[in-house]
């Protein structure tokens, strides 16, 4: 067996600077608070032995997903863990290194044998396996009791507890493999394929039903319209095309077209194009025949004359309206000459009044200046004399003021009033003149439109129209003639058209027959779809998919069966020890015995564990967290005990085993551990001072204590050996 003697750690998880711990006593206790590096120390031993195998989802340990190996606070520098084991033939030193992080990380492993030989890489990995014959799962199950294993067992949720017990039994790989198969959800894809296939099958049946129903309905209708049932065949349809072809030729000849070419169908597949061809040719012959051309021309003329009549009537009405408007205006206000004459007279009046205003203004200026002169410039004495002749004129200023106020001012005001009146009248006449010009313009435009319309009428009637002609009467007469001619022509064409209608009737029947036969043909194709190459391939593919499903299911069942068998084997082997350890550690007042039973979870195929007490009842409803902790420990000790004979390692590592134990249980656990020290050396990590004291007091083998006093980012764990 191999004894753990030393571990040297640098930059691994919680560690930064290199530290070395020696394990040279039967019991080594790692004691200290949480996050002080105790678990990192135990993890280092595990990583040194198993490398990447103890990292990630495949371990079955949730905490190991995204587990970081290098210390995240140390930049650069490689991770180094060196573990020394003392074996039967000497000491073995295993050194695992890791450089870089992520995808650029590269590792190396070295094993130094007792004779000093050093093996590296794959040789070293092989040597480790040869020495210990132990997988990571074995190690986790029987050597290293993980903190997480107990934590996961402390759940009352059956699914999570099953997962945890699988892990305790070292069956996580089975569970992960089955989970991978379940997560593929291939049965969903297969079900969707089945559903689509069923949908297609129903659609095909529905199509057959619909084609059949439509064909029957159309057949009944065709028979009601005179088609004989026995003629609804491809052969008869081809015969019918011959009759139609001959009828079309005859119809064309009646209309004067003698060179019409029709391509006759040689097979039923050509009937549909034949129908379209005949239809377009009938239309062509019909529309291009002389009678139809003439009739079309007459109809066009009829539309033209009808339109002209409306146009002429509108133009005539517009001209009459413009004439009336102009005449009424002249009658009311006079014609243009009268308005010009009146305006001229008003202008002369204005000129005359303005002359008078000018004269009056000259005199008014003189008087106003004299008054101003006498009032402002001349003294009171001089004001009594005329400033021009010097004669005495004592009332001169008063006289001038009176003249200004009573005569000149009134006269000018009167004249200005007259001038304003004349100007208003002049503007009025100018406005009237403008209105008259507008009316004259409108009249001229209406006359011009009427003349243009008459020219169109002349062109349409192909004759001259004199002043004495009535265009409207001429148009109506011509229109009556054309209408009459059209009537007689239509009657003549109706007879020829009867042949055309008869051909169309034949074509409609042929079309119905074609549709009926097409529907029957489609139905026949769908009925034969099950015999097609595509369907056979589809069926084969479904078989392959089904076989694939069966194979995957068989593998899943095999995995589940193997996991169950292994679980059963281990439980049977560890059963007695499990019962013994549980009863001792838990010391439950009502549960005096405990057994584990594995069954298949019918939903997932995974292992499901029943816990039974010795009375055959399910004790889980009364199991406390402490009891579940005892169960996890008992299972671990049980498995360790049954493998003791073949176990390559001479030590057990327990990480925080007393998580939910109360004092009495801790005492019982120490008592069990005392027994175990007879077979194994122990490395125990705990933050529990009570547990530590119990161990120190009751374990009779030599003990060594490493106190984990603290932890810092720069220096990692602060460890003191306290022998």
């Amino acid at each position: 067996m191999f004894h753990l003697t030393r571990v040297r750690i640098r930059n691994f998880r919680g560690f930064t600077d290199e530290q070395e711990l020696k394990f040279d006593q039967p019991v080594v206790l790692l004691f200290g608070g949480n996050h002080h590096g105790k678990s990192s120390t135990l993890n280092a031993v595990e990583w040194c032995l198993f490398g990447e195998n103890c990292v990630g989802r495949k371990t079955g340990i949730r905490e190991r997903i995204g587990w970081e190996i290098p210390n995240r606070y140390v930049s650069g520098g490689s991770v180094v863990v060196e573990v020394e084991f003392k074996g039967p033939s000497g000491n073995y030193i295993i050194t695992r290194e890791l450089r870089g992080t992520g995808r650029r990380a590269s590792g190396n492993i070295t094993v130094q044998l007792p004779d000093g030989t050093k093996l590296q890489g794959e040789d070293a990995e092989r040597q480790i396996y040869t020495l210990y014959h132990s997988s990571f799962q074995d190690f986790m199950t029987t050597v290293y009791q993980h903190q997480e294993a107990i934590r996961a067992t402390l759940t009352q949720e059956p699914r999570d507890r099953n997962d945890a017990i699988d892990r305790l039994l070292g069956l996580s790989e089975y569970r992960e493999l089955v989970r991978g198969i379940i997560d593929a959800k291939i049965e969903n894809i297969y079900k969707a394929m089945g559903s689509d296939f069923e949908g297609f099958r129903q659609l095909a049946q529905q199509s057959i039903y619909i084609y059949d129903k439509e064909a029957k309905e159309k057949k009944e209708k065709a028979i009601a319209e005179g088609v004989e049932e026995e003629t609804i065949t491809e052969q008869e349809a081809l015969h019918r095309t011959k009759d139609i072809g001959e009828a079309v030729i005859s119809f064309a000849q009646d209309l004067g077209v003698s060179d019409l070419q029709i391509t006759m169908p040689q097979s039923f597949g050509e009937v549909a194009p034949f129908r379209e061809d005949v239809k377009s040719k009938i239309d062509y012959v019909w529309l291009s025949s002389p009678d139809m051309v003439k009739q079309t021309a007459l109809e066009r003329k009829q539309r033209e004359l009808g339109s002209l009549i409306g146009e002429y009537q509108d133009a005539k009405t517009a001209e009459a309206g413009a004439q009336t408007g102009r005449d009424e205006f002249v009658q009311l206000h006079g014609d243009e000459a009268t308005l010009v004459k009146t305006a001229k007279a008003q202008q002369e009046n204005i000129t005359e009044v303005e002359d008078q205003i000018r004269k009056s203004n000259a005199k008014a200026n003189l008087v106003r200046e004299a008054v101003q002169y006498l009032e402002e410039v001349v003294s009171d004495i001089d004001r009594r004399r005329c400033p021009l002749c010097g004669a005495d004129a004592p009332q001169l200023l008063n006289q001038l003021k009176n003249e200004w106020e009573e005569k000149i001012k009134v006269e000018i005001s009167d004249l200005e009033l007259q001038r304003n009146e004349h100007q208003t009248k002049l503007r009025h006449f100018d406005t009237l003149k403008g209105q008259l010009e507008d009316l004259e313009g409108k009249l001229a435009k209406a006359r011009s439109s009427l003349e243009e319309c008459i020219k169109k009428v002349a062109a349409a009637l192909q004759r001259e129209i004199g002043k004495h002609d009535d265009p409207l009467a001429l148009l109506n007469t011509q229109l009556q003639k054309i209408t009459s001619e059209l009537e007689s022509r239509k009657k003549a064409l109706e007879k020829k058209g009867e042949k055309r209608i008869a051909i169309f009737d034949q074509l409609a029947k042929l079309r119905t027959i074609d549709e009926i036969l097409s529907l029957e043909r489609k139905r026949a194709i769908v009925e034969r779809i099950w015999d097609t190459r595509e369907f056979r391939e589809l069926d084969k593919l479904r078989d392959k998919a089904s076989q694939f499903m069966e194979d995957v299911e068989a593998i899943k069942s095999s995995l589940a069966a193997a996991a169950r068998e292994e679980a059963e084997t281990k439980i049977i082997a560890a059963g007695t020890s499990l019962d013994k350890y549980f009863c001792r550690i838990a010391n439950h007042p009502t549960i005096r015995g405990l057994a584990l039973e594995v069954i298949e979870d019918p939903r997932t195929g995974l292992n499901s564990y029943n816990i039974k007490s010795n009375d055959g009842l399910d004790p889980t409803p009364i199991l406390s967290q402490g009891d579940l902790n005892c169960l996890a420990l008992s299972l671990f000790f049980g498995l360790a005990e049954v493998t003791a004979g073949t176990q390559p390692f001479a030590f057990l590592m327990l990480d925080d085993p007393t998580q939910s134990l109360w004092s009495e249980m801790k005492g019982q656990l120490v008592s069990v551990l005392e027994e175990i020290t007879e077979r194994y050396e122990l490395v125990i990590s705990t933050p529990d001072a009570e547990f530590k004291n119990l161990l120190m007091t009751n374990i009779t083998k030599n003990k060594d204590v490493y106190d984990f006093l603290g932890w810092t980012k720069n220096n990692g764990p602060q460890i003191a050996r306290n022998a």
């Binding site: 593929a184 194709i525 694939f548």
Partner: protein
């Protein structure tokens, strides 16, 4: 074909199935070794999707015949 040949045919089919299952198990096991449970899920889903894609192509052709 006598009973002897018929039975041998049946056995041959069973052997063939066993070979196929072994091959499938190796595929699953390799995927697990490389990428864990997710690797298995991806591998199986890809294989099933291949069936699905071929199935869809054939079904589309058959639908066109309706």
């Amino acid at each position: 074909m006598g009973y002897n040949e018929k039975v041998l045919d049946k056995i041959a089919i069973m052997e063939q199935r066993a070979k196929e299952r072994k091959a499938l198990w190796h595929t699953i096991s390799d995927s697990f070794g490389k990428e864990g449970a997710e690797g298995i899920a991806n591998e199986l889903a890809v294989e099933m999707d291949e069936f699905r894609e071929k199935f869809d192509v054939l079904l589309a052709k058959l639908n066109d015949m309706l």
